[in-house]
């Protein structure tokens, strides 16, 4: 079967359990089993090739530039691990079918399990190390889901998060390591990397790469000091623990060390780091395991210890060590999976895993007892079981290993580790199964159905078979070892035998077993001593670190993002100033190319007024009305400046915009208090002033600089001046720029204006539905109201001048193309005419006389402008291409017709609609504020000094 299919089957199949879930638990488990079986059989079809020493490869390109390709390879090592993953997977699935209760969602469980299985198979079959990283992180993610499967347990959630954090951290470090490795080797394919041992070990980047990769391996395989997550992952359902912690997840780190062994091992750094970590983990795990009362915790720490053992074997860097490691991986997978499943059976039947509440189970569950005892004895290293063989090999290897210049350090530590290992195995058997039968089990246990004990029984059969007849396994172990070693070493000649003669390893083994038995005799006082010794509790420390990090993050975030806009603005201004200053000081300042102009009296006067008005705003800004008036002055001065610089169009536009803006703002002021409260301290205002002044000076300096220098080439405005009449049919260059040269900008800007009006409308509508409405209804004006809301003089005057305003608007509109004017200004002028009606005669009176909804006017304006632009398509010209012609209709003189005028009409409509819709929105607020309004244009309000409660009249038309 194609390797792709073997890897893909679990992923594709992961959908099925979820789909099959309603069909029942057996069906769900059945499809899962079938999928795994298919992958397993597919793997076995490749066995002949692997036995011939061939390397099966499949590959397609994914991101060749990155060096990330979906290339898979199957050699002895990969086959070995894949066999463990899929084989034990099959047993676990069968076991889980019986283990999970009706309350558990089995579809969800098996979906996660298959995802995890696929990721694991992916790791061991990857040829590309970046692809391996992908699967690596996938195991972290899918194990997160598996460990947290029982969501109702806080331990499950915490354990899942801890596992994800620790292994995720390792994974990220490994990303760095793998990238460096690939950079050194020039390829991310293992088949290339493994050929480059010398190149890699000579590189100055070897040590960083090694450390980062080992971080990944150590976190995944729970090596000291990252061992602490593994026991907490035991909150998962037992099948998960059995799977993750015997054959799969924790072996991923071991696998990777084995995989990269040919290129990374053998250097002093490798030996020192890997052997030390393995040794410490082995002893520490074994010691802690002995004193654990929870069966699964005991097994978890024993797993930690055994992983340390394998790591240490890989760390020694010899071929024999590698072979011992391979053999122990096999043995550990068999006996540890069986042990976890047995613990699960005990838990399932007795409803407790607390070793202190158990004992005497051998009479009640003889089958379980037999299975568990054989597996545990194998773990303890008792002859005729497979654990003995690999432990002997380990002790033999330890005997020859020199660490930190010491010949005795490793052997002694290894013996101590084995001693504790034997002790906890004896305790596992003794305190659970031996002793008298008790009568206080939470639930009376008995042997489960065959579905539950058969999977561990199959494993224990292997344990015994290999233990009694090691020659059965030897060829396979040597095959795997050969593929692990690659070109970096020769498979050792030594045979795996039960009896090697009276070698040191045997004595060490005897010491360990005897010591273990001895320790069981004095377990009670030892345990008391252990309980009374203060120990760092990894979980507490971990939680403290994470919670501390969260708190620190919150402090940082809260102090940074405290919601004060003033501060955000200040940071922005300071940033801009700093970056601008940096750009300035790193550049060269040349000499000005333009002469200074004499300012003249008018300019100075205008400048003085502008400055005075601006300063006035700063000092009087708390009085809103005054500030508004001063802003009006600023706007006027800007208009005058435009006149001064011979830009009458701009001046007119600015002037009318100012007028409309001030009117709208006055209406808005109506709903605000007259004065702004003081909200910041003097010190802060001083700070803000400093920043503001710096910003102003910066802008001024820039303006000064640019005004004194010519552009590097002729500005494009020269072209506009030269061609405005010839190409645009207008002598008013500004208008031609607006509607022709850059008509598209204008098209955009009228849309901006239209959107603004629409959003003012939408905003008003939502405001009126919300709490604002209540506030408006309860509002009392804070100042005495004018006696007459519609002064007669004003009413009469506005009506009289209305036609005049309309005519002026029309005139301005028409002359726009050649003289100052245009649709924009005309629109504003006409709006002012209508606004005056509102102000003088009241909104109800005016609204009743308006036929067209403003939304429609806006829409029509944009559509007219748009369709005008599209009209040129029919003449095979681009959007907005203008055309003009001269016509003569008697008795008028010859006049010009330009398509630009049609576009200008769109502008006109959009402007009128936008201004009026905004105005109407304000008046809606006023109306909702329950202000009286009559359909009559004039009335006399008797409540001049003392507003009566039903006649409060602060509306816009009455100031």
């Amino acid at each position: 079967m194609s390797l792709f299919l073997i890897v893909a089957l679990p992923f594709l199949g992961a959908l099925l359990p979820g789909v099959m879930n309603p069909a029942g638990r057996s069906a769900t488990a059945g499809v899962t089993f079938t999928i795994t079986l298919a992958a397993f059989v597919g793997l076995l079809t490749n066995l002949p090739a692997v036995l011939n020493g061939e390397v099966v490869t499949n590959g397609i390109n994914w991101m060749p530039v990155l060096g990330l390709n979906v290339t898979l390879m199957l050699d002895g090592l990969g086959f070995f691990f894949a066999l463990l993953i899929l084989g034990i997977g099959l047993l676990i699935i069968a076991y889980a079918r019986q283990y999970l209760s009706r309350d558990d969602n089995m579809g969800e469980f098996f979906t996660y399990l298959l995802l995890f299985q696929g990721a694991m198979v992916g790791i061991v079959l990857s040829d590309n190390i970046l692809l391996l990283l992908v699967f690596w992180e996938l195991t972290s993610l899918s194990s997160f889901l598996l460990i947290g499967y029982w969501k109702h347990l806080p331990e499950g959630r915490q354990g899942a998060r801890m596992a994800l954090t620790v292994t995720g951290m390792g994974g990220l470090a490994m990303i760095g390591g793998m990238l460096i490795l690939g950079q050194i080797a020039g390829s991310y394919d293992l088949s290339d990397i493994l050929q480059n041992r010398d190149l890699i070990q000579a590189s100055p980047l070897y040590v960083p790469a090694l450390i980062l990769i080992l971080l990944g391996c150590f976190t995944k395989s729970a090596q000291f000091p990252f061992h602490f997550w593994l026991p907490h992952a035991m909150a998962a359902p037992t099948p998960v623990s059995a799977y993750l912690h015997s054959a799969t997840m924790v072996k991923a780190g071991i696998f990777l060390m084995a995989r990269l062994w040919p290129v990374l091992s053998g250097t002093p750094e490798w030996v020192m780091i890997v052997t030390t970590a393995g040794l410490i983990t082995m002893v520490l795990g074994a010691v802690i395991a002995l004193f654990k009362h929870d069966l699964k915790s005991l097994l978890a720490f024993s797993t930690v210890s055994h992983l340390g053992l394998i790591t240490m074997l890989l760390g020694t860097g010899t071929s024999f060590g590698a072979m011992a490691a391979v053999f122990h991986i096999l043995n550990h997978a068999t006996f540890k999976a069986a042990l976890f499943m047995s613990a699960g059976i005990v838990d399932h039947e007795a409803h407790t895993r607390d070793i202190r509440r158990l004992g005497g189970l051998r009479h009640l569950m003889p089958i379980t007892f037999a299975i568990a005892s054989l597996a545990a004895l194998s773990m303890a290293g008792i002859p005729l079981l497979n654990g003995f063989l690999s432990k002997e090999m380990m002790l033999e290897e330890a005997h020859h290993t020199v660490l930190f210049g010491s010949h005795w350090l490793v052997p002694v530590m290894a013996t101590v580790g084995s001693l504790f290992s034997a002790a906890y195995c004896f305790r596992f058997i003794g305190h659970t199964f031996l002793g008298p039968v008790r009568d206080d089990y939470p639930h009376t246990p008995h042997d489960p159905g065959a579905g539950m004990w058969l999977p561990p029984a199959i494993l224990v059969t292997l344990v015994v078979l290999i233990g009694v007849a090691p020659f059965v396994a030897e060829p396979f172990v040597k095959l795997v070892t050969a593929s692990l070693l690659g070109s970096a070493g020769e498979v050792p000649d030594a045979h795996i035998k039960i009896w090697h003669g009276l070698v040191p390893a045997l004595y060490m083994s005897i010491v360990a077993v005897a010591g273990g038995l001895l320790m069981m005799l004095v377990f009670a006082p030892l345990s008391r001593l252990w309980e009374s010794t203060p120990r760092p509790e990894a979980k507490v420390i971990f939680e403290a670190i994470i919670n501390g990090a969260v708190r620190a993050a919150r402090v940082v975030m809260h102090s940074l993002h405290n919601g004060s806009f003033t501060r955000y603005a200040m940071i922005a201004v300071v940033t801009v100033l700093a970056a601008g200053y940096h750009a300035w000081i790193t550049g060269a300042v040349g000499v000005p190319t333009r002469e200074m102009q004499a300012p003249g009296a008018v300019a100075i006067a205008g400048w003085a007024m502008l400055v005075a008005a601006t300063l006035g705003i700063v000092f009087f800004h708390r009085n809103r009305l005054l500030a508004l008036i001063l802003m009006g002055i600023v706007g006027l001065m800007v208009s005058i400046a435009f006149v001064f610089f011979s830009a009458p169009d701009l001046a007119m536009t600015q002037f009318t915009v100012e007028a409309v803006t001030i009117i709208l703002l006055l209406l808005a002021l109506n709903f605000l208090p007259n004065r702004t409260p003081v909200e910041s301290t003097t010190l802060r205002r001083f700070r803000d002033a400093t920043v503001a002044i710096a910003g102003g000076l910066g802008s001024a300096a820039l303006a000064w600089h640019y005004l004194l220098r010519d552009a590097v080439a002729t500005p494009i405005s020269e072209f506009h001046l030269a061609n405005s009449y010839k190409g645009g049919g207008g002598t008013n260059v500004v208008n031609v720029i607006l509607v022709d040269f850059r008509g598209f900008d204008t098209f955009g800007e009228i849309i901006v204006l239209s959107i603004a009006a629409l959003l003012i409308y939408a905003l008003t509508e939502t405001l009126l539905d919300g709490p604002v409405r209540r506030r408006l209804l309860n509002r009392t004006p804070d100042q005495p109201q004018s006696g007459t809301r519609h002064p007669m003089m004003m009413v009469v005057l506005t009506r009289v001048i209305m036609p005049v305003v309309m005519m002026v608007g029309f005139y301005i509109f028409l002359r726009g193309h050649n003289e100052p004017g245009g649709g924009f200004i005309a629109g504003l002028i006409v709006s002012i005419g209508v606004v005056m009606q509102y102000m003088a005669s009241g909104f109800s009176w005016t609204a009743a006389r308006l036929k067209y909804p403003y939304h429609g006017v806006i829409g029509a304006g944009v559509l007219v402008a748009g369709f005008t632009g599209m009209g040129s398509w029919f003449l095979e010209k681009p959007f907005l291409t203008s055309d003009f012609t001269y016509v003569r209709i008697p008795p008028f003189e010859k006049f010009e017709l330009a398509t630009a005028a049609l576009f200008d009409l769109g502008v006109f409509l959009a402007v009128v609609g936008a201004v009026m819709l905004s105005l109407e929105s304000f008046s809606r607020l006023a109306r909702r504020a329950d202000m009286p309004d009559s359909d009559h244009p004039m009335d006399i309000d008797p409540s001049r000094e003392k507003p009566s409660p039903d006649l409060r009249t602060p509306e816009p038309e009455a100031h």
Binding site: L141, A572, H582, N723, D745, G748, G859, L863, P878
Partner: protein, 517 residues
């Protein structure tokens, strides 16, 4: 001259007023027109992207005036790719807005939505810097309207800050444009590239300051720390579909930086040398870190996603700040990814809001549709945190690899990887609290009160999110092809001869090629 390239701007620009004019009171009709409009846009965008895929540059003279005197639209591989990304995102966001009923909770949603699209698409397609300003205005004002859609005090407050901050940006944009026009006398991008290259070494401050001011404008849009303060609150408070659409808005800033600082101010230009090296990459690194810290610190799901967006923009900026073809190629790949991932997460956080009435990261009663929502959150978080197997991981690898020759490579790797870890922890905490811990405090589900809270989202909502997620998967599966394309784009940007010659050497009304020069 074919008019296809202007249609993505004109179509929404006319669709919106049409909806206002004719369908103001009928949400059903608005929906039909809005969806049809977006579908047409997708067809247009796909056609344009297909047309330029071989490196052709399409060019359009507005009002028939040639560059640099008039405004031109230019469609190259970069701009059409961004256009396609925008409209595809828009379709799913729109479907979600309809499915969840967000569009009917205020006025003028669909009109503003169309205007918003017009602004974004215009910004991608224009070849003129001032016209870019105009489109920035369009998209800003439309986005403000969308942001405060449906109202509410917090939203209005955040909206006010959003619009004020962006007005600072607009003002700065005008300053920068004034400065650039004063220095060069032109506004067309291709022409600018040519004229800036002519500036001599004796007088460089003017163009340097102008270049930096312009960059800061785009940096505000792209939410580069410390100019990001407008983003977290406004994205968190905006209606979810709007926030999802806004995922593309930060990319407009990134796009502008890519466009301007390769074609106008290329990295090897003498007058602007050593201009950005000192602070741009460090700022990007800080953005990346701040984003991750914000994810960890967040007490609400929507704020968490908003900070994830800040972080992902940091990643984009890291890649851009290298100013190499590899860096830009990686940045573009990551931009597509981060847009889709952010949109997915914003929409998923709205599912949580629909399910239980708020998005607090606290244990609450279980909500309807938890399993599916949790799965979508998990997938979205994987994408956003840059874990395998989704495109975020590939993008991260690309960025790490592109930075190998940078001076600060160690910093880049450390910050990127550690930030990833922090956001993984943040996402895991938030996800397990919201989706798992709720099982711990299970009250009686049969009471009427709880039933009322738990209204399952509509199928259309799931379809919309699923569609975005499917795009993420495609982006992952076809990573090789997509990245190949973005690398080609990056090469074009560093050798813009084709672009420049077609823009500057095509005659228009009353002008011969390069007359103004």
């Amino acid at each position: 001259m074919s008019h296809w390239i202007i249609l993505p701007i004109v179509l929404p620009a006319l669709m919106a007023p049409f909806i206002v004019l004719a369908a103001r009171f009928h949400i059903g009709i608005q929906r039909v027109f809005s969806v049809v409009g977006v579908l047409l846009l997708i067809a247009l965008a796909a056609g344009l992207a297909w047309h330029v895929a071989d490196g052709t540059v399409i060019y359009y003279r507005l009002s028939d005036w040639a560059a640099p005197f008039g405004i031109v639209l230019v469609g190259d591989r970069l701009s059409t790719m961004m256009v396609l990304l925008t409209v595809v995102l828009a379709l799913f966001v729109l479907l979600y807005a309809i499915g969840s009923g967000w569009d009917s909770r205020g006025d003028h949603f669909h009109a503003l939505f169309q205007f918003q699209l017009m602004g974004i698409l215009g910004a991608f397609l224009t070849g003129d810097l001032f016209n870019l300003f105009v489109f920035f205005e369009v998209l800003l004002i439309a986005s403000y309207g969308l942001m405060i859609h449906a109202g509410g005090n917090d939203r209005l407050k955040a909206g006010t800050q959003y619009v004020l901050y962006n007005l600072i940006g607009s003002t700065l944009f005008l300053f920068a444009l004034g400065a650039i026009y004063a220095e060069t006398g032109t506004l067309n991008m291709a022409d600018l590239g040519r004229r800036v290259a002519e500036i001599g070494p004796e007088e460089t401050v003017g163009i340097r300051v102008a270049a930096v001011l312009l960059l800061l404008v785009f940096a505000i849009k792209a939410a580069l720390v410390p100019l990001h303060f407008w983003l977290p609150s406004s994205y968190a408070e905006a209606p979810a579909p709007v926030a999802a659409l806004f995922a593309i808005m930060t990319k407009v800033g990134a796009y502008a930086i890519i466009r301007v600082y390769t074609m106008i101010f290329p990295p090897d230009l003498d007058v602007t040398s050593n201009l950005l090296e000192t602070w741009f990459l460090p700022a990007a690194l800080i953005s990346c870190a701040i984003g991750a810290i914000g994810v960890l610190a967040a007490r609400k799901m929507d704020r968490l996603v908003a900070f994830a967006v800040v972080g992902s923009m940091g990643m984009v900026m890291i890649a851009i700040s290298l100013f190499t073809p590899q860096g830009i190629g990686a940045a573009l790949y990551y931009i597509i990814h981060s847009t889709l991932a952010a949109a997915v997460l914003f929409l998923v956080s709205d599912l949580i809001r629909t399910g239980r009435g708020n998005v607090d990261v606290t244990a609450q009663i279980p909500m309807a549709g938890t399993f599916l929502t949790a799965g979508m959150f998990f997938a979205g978080a994987i994408a956003m945190a840059g874990l395998p197997p989704l495109s975020g991981f590939l993008g991260k690898l690309l960025i790490l690899q592109a930075s190998v020759s940078a001076d600060l490579v160690v910093w880049v790797w450390a910050v990127v990887l550690i930030s990833s870890l922090i956001s993984v922890v943040g996402f895991a905490r938030a996800g397990s609290t919201v989706f798992w811990k709720s099982h711990g405090t299970l009250p009686d589900l049969d009471t009427d009160e709880n039933k009322e809270v738990a209204t399952p989202p509509t199928i259309l909502s799931y379809v919309a999110i699923g569609g975005l997620f499917a795009l993420l998967v495609l982006h992952t599966v076809f990573a090789g092809q997509v990245h190949g394309y973005t690398t080609d784009i990056a090469r074009d940007l560093f050798a813009p001869q084709a672009y420049n010659s077609i823009v500057l050497d095509t005659p228009g009304k009353l002008s011969k090629p390069s007359e103004g020069h």
